[in-house]
Every structure is written in structure tokens, then in C-alpha cells.
């Protein structure tokens, strides 16, 4: 594996290896010296064309814990705002000797372009591209699910996970469907018809329009943010109606089985897709998701950069 562009590129064994590696690396967080020398002398560039707090900080922390040098490149305040193309930005980074580029871009497919164009030699890690994919988010969700719901490690066979909300604009949903299927879990998508992507019937998952019907039968529910910034049309009559039909409040949460957990990739709109008392309840694992994100990204960077770089 040289790049991480899509959750679809991962086999079951690849994914389990990443989760197992992350489980070992998680212990570093509990040590007094939270650093490993593994990527000493390597340079990781965080190339963020879209706003992000937690993903960028998470990648930065993961790289630093492995002793890599990190350069943060935000499009705002850089030459990109003066009109520089992705190609010229990439060539600049290559000339500076980047060993890996972590890219977030508003255009679906930008990481793929960067990886296959020959502009750069290093590894490319997709940190979210448009409405396409966000593979490390899916990995950290899988890690969190495994941590809570599977005693023995391994894959996620036998689990059933509901993903609820703005599926249409969600790269998190797409990456999760692909990865959770690869790991043997069943996925059911829940959303109003207007927020289901075109062609969803060909995805390897079930589709439902009724959250109350789905909740009693799942081991975990993942609430997605309503992405107002990507919405260029009216997808539902009002925020209040969306919240009543598809939001997770305490009454709805009580329909879940006793052991089931609640995930949210963040940032949350409290009161919209998730109520404040659900977000603060012990079944909500958002804080663990953030911590697991660092471990999973450390695992990905170690596996991509830690050994000899594979020939193409």
C-alpha cells in the first residue's frame, strides 16, 4: 500500500492490520513520553483546501507522535488564494521533499489526481475530498466500534450499524459503508429521500426512511451532520421538521438495544441531528472517536511511511 485514497482500496486484512496497529499505538498516549522515533527525518505536509479543525490537528498530532516533521498548509493565506493550481502547489511541495501529503479538498477526486499524476513521489493520504470519501474517519469509526462491541478484536462480522442523516453530502457515510462491509458488518442508511445519493441502491447496504423502525435492531448508530454549507437547494421543509423526523433525542435513543452506542463524526449541530442530552450521555462516544482518530492516523502513517517505500 502506497497511498490511502479510498476505503474501497483496503482488503479485510489491510483494514484489520491498520486497526491492530492502531490498538498498539494507542498505548503511546498513556505514556509520559508520548513520542516514537519511527518517522524521524520524514516530512508530512497537511495540505488543507477546506476548513477543518479536528482532522488537521489529529493528523498533525499523529505525525508528531511518530517524530515526523509536519508542515501545515492551509489554502487561505497561501498562494492558492492568489490563483495557484493544485499542480503547481504539488510541484512546490515535491521540491521541498515531502514524504507524504495529507490532502483535504473540496473537489471529489483531488487526492486521486495528486497520487496518480506523477507530480509528487510521496504517499498521498485522503483526509476528505468533496462528497466522495474520508477513509481515516471510517477507520477510526471501525476502531471505536470494535473497541466497544467486539471482545476479541479481528473484524466487525455480525454487527449492524445505522448511518443516519445527510448521506447525500457525506463522504463519511460513503467511506463507512465501504469499510464496514469489508469488515463484515451490515450497514443501513437512514435519511429523507432527498438526502439519499443517486444510485444508492447499488451500494452494498440497506436503505430505510424510518429511523424508529431501524433503531431497535442495530448495535450502533452514527449520526451525521446536516451539511448546510454544501446544500444549494431545499432538501427538507424546515430544520425543526428534520430534527423531529430524523434527529436523535433521548426518547429515540431508548429504542436502541442496551449495548448499542452512538457515534458522530463531528462537528455536531446540537439540537439538529442530535439533542444535547444524547450528545452528553454515556452511550455517546464522540470523545473516544477523537482520541482513536490520532491512533488510527498514526497507524496509517506508520504503515505507509515506516518501511521501505514500495515501487509503483
Amino acid at each position: 500500500m502506497r497511498h490511502l485514497l479510498s476505503a474501497a482500496d483496503l482488503t479485510r486484512d489491510d483494514a484489520v492490520l491498520i486497526l491492530d496497529t492502531a490498538a498498539e499505538l494507542a498505548a503511546v498516549t498513556d505514556r509520559s513520553v508520548k513520542k516514537l522515533p519511527t518517522l524521524r527525518g520524514r516530512t508530512v505536509v497537511n495540505l488543507f483546501f477546506e476548513d477543518s479543525t479536528r482532522t488537521r490537528i489529529s493528523f498533525e498530532l499523529a505525525a508528531k507522535r511518530l517524530s515526523a516533521d509536519v508542515i501545515n498548509f492551509a489554502a487561505k493565506g497561501s498562494s492558492v488564494s492568489k490563483g495557484e493550481s493544485l499542480k503547481d502547489t504539488a510541484l512546490t511541495l515535491e521540491a521541498m521533499g515531502a514524504d507524504a501529503v495529507v490532502i483535504r479538498h473540496g473537489a471529489s477526486g483531488a487526492p486521486h489526481r495528486l497520487a496518480t499524476s506523477g507530480w509528487i513521489q510521496g504517499s498521498v493520504i485522503n483526509a476528505g475530498d468533496g462528497t466522495h470519501e474520508h477513509p481515516t474517519q471510517a477507520l477510526l469509526d471501525a476502531f471505536t466500534l470494535r473497541d466497544h462491541l467486539k471482545e476479541a478484536g479481528g473484524d466487525l462480522a455480525g454487527l449492524r450499524v445505522a448511518i443516519v442523516g445527510d448521506i447525500l453530502h457525506s463522504r463519511v457515510a460513503r467511506s463507512n459503508v465501504l469499510l464496514l462491509r469489508t469488515l463484515g458488518a451490515e450497514v443501513v442508511l437512514v435519511a429523507p429521500p432527498t438526502l439519499m445519493p443517486f444510485g444508492v441502491e447499488s451500494w452494498p447496504c440497506e436503505v430505510s426512511y424510518d429511523i424508529d423502525d431501524v433503531l431497535p435492531g442495530v448495535d450502533a448508530v452514527m449520526m451525521l451532520r446536516v451539511q448546510a454549507e454544501r446544500m444549494k437547494a431545499a432538501y427538507f421543509p424546515s430544520a425543526l421538521e428534520y430534527s423531529r423526523m430524523f434527529g436523535l433525542d433521548v426518547a429515540r435513543m431508548s429504542r436502541l438495544p442496551e449495548h448499542a452506542i452512538v457515534l458522530h463524526p463531528g462537528p455536531m449541530n446540537r439540537g439538529m441531528e442530535i439533542s444535547a442530552d444524547v450528545a452528553d450521555s454515556p452511550r455517546a462516544v464522540m470523545v473516544e472517536q477523537v482520541a482513536n482518530g490520532v491512533s488510527v492516523r498514526m497507524a496509517v502513517m506508520y504503515l505507509l511511511l515506516g518501511g521501505r517505500q514500495e515501487e509503483i
Binding site: E24, S32, L36, T38, L304, G307
Partner: protein, 181 residues
């Protein structure tokens, strides 16, 4: 390429070596109260467990055993594709102020031990670090020497020393394989 194998230690030899190492560790530490045994995966961990059992027989005290994976501290990471990690588990209470005995199956170049010393440095500050190995086959590339040795085995560089243990391989023995070109 063909290979010739000969058995240099059998199960009884390995049992005696482990018991003698246990005696020597206890003697040098004047008891066992500050000791921690850290095995280097995979076979070092099993050897550490056996040494702890022997110390239990001798002293009647339980010495904590852990494992220390050194993969992330290796100096040859970039020579091979990235490897899967083994488990690291440090006994509760940590290593600060304790006498840590590193346990490995074969001592060769010394690079694994160098990596283990670096890893320990990030985990705490032991009172002392000692090294126990089942087989010392020579050819050191770093100024490192063992404190407790099961067997010194002079070897040539085109020989391979293979330690097999019941826990991982189904039987106890040490084999030297010579590659015949």
C-alpha cells in the same frame, strides 16, 4: 539452495539453561523484589514467563512479566516494508526504579537490544537494565554484552540459529542451519 540442520540444545538443555539463568538473576539481584522481566516478542516473552516461573520456584515470589515490542525503534525499518507490530505490555507500576531484565531468544548483532534500550528510555527510568538470552551466537555490531547466557554458540555468518519453543513451535529445541550453496 539447500540447508543442513543440527540440533544444538534439546528440551532438557533448554530447561536447565532457564533454571540456571533464574538462579543467576536472583543471586545478582539479592532477591527478587525489585525485578521485572520484559520479553522481546515473540519467543523472548515465553522465555521470560519460564524464567519467572523458575524464580517463583526458587524464591516463592511472583516476578512481574511484560513484553516489549521494539519494531518502532528498529534501525532497519526502511530496509523492508512496514511490519505489523507485536504487543507491548508493561506490568502495572511501570519500570521506574526497578531492575529490568530484558529477555530474548538469540543475541546476534545487538541491534535489537539497542532498540529495546531506546524503547525503555521512553517508558521510564529503571534502576538498572540487564540482558538475558538463551543463545549468544556472537557477531556483535554494537558494544553490547549479555549478563545471563543460556548457551554460547560460536557460529559462522552463513549459519542460521533457530530457537523453537513449545508455545510457538510445538517443541523445545535450538537448531543451527547451514546454508549449502
Amino acid at each position: 539452495m539447500d540447508s543442513r540442520a543440527r540440533i544444538v540444545l534439546d528440551d532438557a538443555d533448554i530447561g536447565r539453561a532457564v533454571r540456571r539463568i533464574a538462579h543467576e538473576i536472583v543471586e545478582k539481584a539479592r532477591g527478587s523484589h525489585d525485578l521485572i522481566l520484559l520479553g522481546i516478542p515473540t519467543r523472548g516473552v515465553w522465555l521470560a514467563e519460564r524464567i519467572a516461573t523458575s524464580i517463583d520456584d526458587i524464591e516463592g515470589t511472583h516476578v512481574p512479566v511484560g513484553s516489549l515490542d521494539i519494531t518502532l525503534y528498529r534501525d532497519d525499518l526502511r530496509l523492508r516494508p512496514a511490519r505489523a507490530l507485536e504487543a507491548t505490555s508493561i506490568p502495572a507500576g511501570g519500570i521506574d526504579g526497578r531492575v529490568v531484565v530484558l529477555v530474548d531468544d538469540v543475541l546476534f548483532s545487538g541491534r535489537t537490544v539497542r532498540a529495546a534500550l531506546d524503547a525503555l528510555n521512553d517508558l521510564g527510568r529503571p534502576a538498572a537494565v540487564r540482558l538475558a538470552v538463551l543463545v549468544d551466537r556472537g557477531h556483535r555490531e554494537l558494544p553490547i554484552r549479555p549478563d545471563y547466557v543460556g548457551k554460547n554458540l560460536p557460529t559462522s555468518l552463513d549459519e542460521q540459529v533457530r530457537v523453537e519453543l513449545v508455545e510457538t513451535d510445538g517443541l523445545d529445541r535450538v537448531v543451527i542451519e547451514e546454508e549449502v550453496r
